[in-house]
Symmetry: C2
Subunit: 287 residues, 2 copies
């Protein structure tokens, strides 16, 4: 036995259970041997759930700062670091944002609402300080860099927060009236409020459940995209999702039906059909 094998442990039972909960059936692939540290990371990530009920207590000291340092440790395009985040604790500001984001109970309950920003303003200032016209920032590509950078950062923060026992829930409704949220937060030009993230200590009386996802084969393609994968794997997923809905006391609904309603009309986007207009009013070139 080599030194490396010596420290490897067989965590397959716990991980296999987490995978079965995520997919509604046992994993169809062989699990690699993992160290105890690696297993802890995988169990945190596989155990993710959106937590909407929080205790009315503040965050532990240092928890948020540690999560933001984790966010900064994510990759970023060319080290541009084209993102920022606002931690909203002020109840008045939080209520104003909630009123524009669909009045969601988790925003009201959370001690902190993070608003993640695709931020080109710091790049504009840095480049113009060097005498650059910074014309590249006027292109849709630069907004995409900001969106990707902010999202990589946020997801590392989420995993860091969940590892600390905190609960989170992403809030896409921040974009319903992105221009007005930007005004409330005093954002400079070329900064988009991309999504919110509520966080807090989970209420143990109202635990969240793992939501099952499409089969792995529906999203993972080999060498080329196989359009038949999505269609073939959606039917068994309907059954898995019904089980989740039943356990949560939710009405039974097929995934197709949920998708169809969610994307049916511009009005179903709840204001976000105006995103292009919001972006132009926030100073993005979108070339």
């Amino acid at each position: 036995m080599t030194a490396a094998e010596d420290i490897m442990l067989d965590h397959s039972p716990t991980l296999a259970a987490a995978l079965a909960e995520r997919h509604g059936s046992p994993p169809a692939f062989a699990l690699p041997a993992l160290s105890a540290e690696a297993a802890a990371v995988l169990e945190t990530i596989l155990g993710h759930r959106s937590q909407r009920a929080y205790l009315p207590v503040p965050l532990p000291e240092g928890a948020l700062e540690l999560a933001v340092a984790a966010a900064q440790s994510a990759a970023t395009s060319s080290n541009l670091q084209a993102w920022s985040v606002v931690a909203v604790r002020d109840p008045g500001i939080k209520a104003q944002i909630n009123a524009l984001s669909g009045e969601q109970a988790q925003i009201a309950a959370a001690p902190v609402l993070l608003v993640w920003l695709a931020d080109l303003s710091r790049l504009r200032a840095a480049a113009e300080g060097e005498g650059s016209a910074a014309e590249g920032l006027d292109y849709l590509e630069s907004l995409v860099i900001g969106i990707v950078d902010a999202t990589l950062a946020a997801q590392s923060a989420v995993i860091a927060l969940e590892a600390q026992g905190l609960g989170t829930c992403y809030i896409g409704g921040i974009r319903n009236a992105a221009d007005r949220v930007a005004a409330i937060l005093g954002l400079p030009a070329e900064v988009l409020p991309l999504f919110g993230l509520t966080l807090g200590v989970p209420d143990p009386a109202r635990p969240a459940r793992v939501k099952p996802r499409l089969p792995l084969a529906a999203v993972l393609h080999q060498d080329r995209y196989d359009p038949t994968r999505g269609a073939a794997s959606v039917a068994p997923y309907a059954e898995v999702l019904h089980g989740f809905q039943s356990a949560e006391g939710l009405p039974r609904a097929d995934w197709h039906r949920i998708v169809a309603q969610r994307v049916a009309t511009p009005a179903a986007l709840k204001g976000r059909e105006n995103l292009t207009r919001y972006l132009r009013s926030l100073g993005f070139g979108l070339k």
Copy 2:
């Protein structure tokens, strides 16, 4: 001592060192007490580095599937799961994509190139199967949902891969000629190749170094955005970055200067100034 305190360990020395490496100075906040499992997660995330040199060996069995299951465990807007991923192992296909993405050594060296996709095609099929016109998919908002979903998924996969001892590097150059990459991969309409991710077993002879980031105070705002934070914190960052450049044998360059060059002109975007055109040719409405 309560049961909870009983299992808490003080990992501050290791975490403080990781934070100091990331910011070039000791943390200015108190570290929370963490369980051994939580510390393992934080150390994985804080220790991220882009790894470009790989051994010429395949991935361990099950490592990729486990990472994709981790990706699926990330949050997704309204459970739409608007992403897919192609695992490219075929040397010919990988070389074609590399030729369009800047001929990067890490793409040639990696046994696997993942191409992460913002994927509205599965939603279009599901909605139209229910008789929906799916008009919402024609809006920029739906592309943003796909980009955010794909990026949340990819970052969870990266952390899962790094926990397993594998190395990764994001490839934004995939967008240089996104339309041609889409053709090579046989993507249906409304599917964007968003970024690549090389992965493999790190070459221990060529380890990657942690790249320092802007001070935490530059990116974390309290209640409202403070535009003076970015400007104030960029000057000390220049020194920290010079230390990294010197240790890596890279030419000394200020962050301002790097940013200025990177965004100076449309041509500096290396083809990605055409992203709007690529997206239209791929069938996105962008309303």
